[in-house]
Amino acid sequence: MVDELTRLDEGALRAVVPRVLAGLVRRGEDFDAAEDALQEALVEALRVWPEHPPRDPRAWLATVATRRLVDARRSEAARHRREEAISAEPPPAVTEEGDDTLFVLFCCCHPDLAPASQVALTLRAVGGLTTREIADAFYVPEATMAQRISRAKRTVRGRRLDQPGDLAVVLRVLYLVYTAGHAGRVDLAGEAIRLARQLTLATEEPEARGLLALMLLNHARLPARVDPEGRIVTLDRQDRGLWDTREIAEGVRILQSALAVQRPGRYQVEAAIAALHDDAASAEETDWPQILAWYDDLVALSDDPVRQDPAAVLGRAVAVGHVLGAAAGLRETDRLRDVIGERQRWHAVRGHLHERDGDLPAAATAYAEAARRATNVAERDHLVRQAARARAAAL
């Protein structure tokens, strides 16, 4: 019972983090100091709320954080902590929730920051995660992550934060959080979805909805993607009964609302491709001609796709392989040799196409080449298995 209460409070707590932070910064507080004060208030809330639940969590946090800021200025923090934690009272002006999320996201995804810093700052200031949780998720010492965050905040300090930022950067950062997966104790993919959902409340931009749809449509397949022994299961072999149909339905609905605006972008197109995979009752029923048509759209978004978006060209090569034959698909990958010929995925795709083409020795060699270039243990093991399987079948 107590545990349940704590967890509930934590969810409510984290949802209001960016709103409180935005309120403090808008009032003229320094972003760096305000974020520190809010982090302290959060830790305090986790301690106090289970026994003294606040009437208005947001006001409580704003008040406690404000007192922390005042205390920090007076350098006599410790003495008052106890009393104020319990007697915190509401004042603040109410602003629109979506605006605040966007505002803080733009701060955290400032273009002057390196991607790793953007990700860390976003998870702390918008996601409300603690430094320790973020450190765990990326397998670095807590002190390292603390330093990364404070350096990032120092970089952002003094920048004008009242200008709208670059939404494309925010989308990229959220997608980075998503693809970082669910290492450690924190489900980063789930966190990215939560943040993307908040973002779609804050902007009408269809690409924000496209990104949320893409995440949902991929995340729906997660339960089938790894078997109980930790082995990667490729899309064509997944137990589709394990896919999350509710997530798929929501992803499709959000994608449709984005496409209706008729301002296509890469996340919407990638979501459409994911939706077509999710829609097939079996691998054989996959609508590859439709997928290829979407890949044509994706590739057309770049002037020089081979150089600017080789991942899209490579994905398209797979679709070509399924629609026009494996040999045609392999020819498409040839165009990429100079650009990504040293990458794991290029070799893995060629292994797949050689296998479809019936050339098992070539498939085994390509998979082995891919395994040598893998930078992830699960993927390396998967590719070694693919190579061994193809070689054994060729005998």
Binding site: E229, G230, A364, Y367, A368, A371, R372, R373, A374, T375, V377, R380, D381, L383, V384, R385, A387, A388, R389, R391, A392
Partner: protein, 136 residues
């Protein structure tokens, strides 16, 4: 409790107990058995309270050194990449004694290879220096 690093290699080290092909040329069931054994070792170390860290390294290596003032770093992949030592990864363990470290290393080396036979792979066992001065 001393810490030890059990280093595994892609190549280098003493004369191998017996030659064996790269893993992508093994029978699929031998690959499975090998990978399952590695997972089992990590679980065993965690259960015994001796696990500190385990990491795998990619086989790509670049040597690099200071290039001098206002010069780019100097890099090379050579000179003899086929014969030199190439570390593949490690277990770091925190154990009671050097004997225990050797015992665990020998167990790791019993990992199954082609035909399910032990690989008898050489492991490099190195003690990690502690930070704090010893009390005396």
């Amino acid at each position: 409790m001393p810490k030890y690093l059990l280093l595994k290699r892609y190549r280098g080290g003493p004369e191998p107990h017996h030659p064996f092909p790269p893993m992508d040329q093994w029978a699929p069931e031998d690959v499975e058995a090998h990978i399952a054994f590695q997972r089992h070792v990590s679980e065993l170390l965690e259960e015994s309270g001796e696990y500190v860290d385990a990491q795998a390294l990619t086989p790509t290596r670049t040597w690099v050194r200071y290039g001098g003032p206002d010069a780019a770093p100097v890099t090379t992949d050579g000179p003899h990449p086929e014969t030199s030592d190439l570390i593949a990864g490690w277990y770091m363990i925190d154990v009671e004694s050097r004997e225990r470290a050797l015992e665990l290393a020998a167990y790791v080396s019993s990992e199954p290879g082609p035909g399910g036979e032990p690989l008898y792979e050489w492991l490099d066992v190195r003690e990690v220096m502690s930070e704090a001065p010893s009390e005396d």
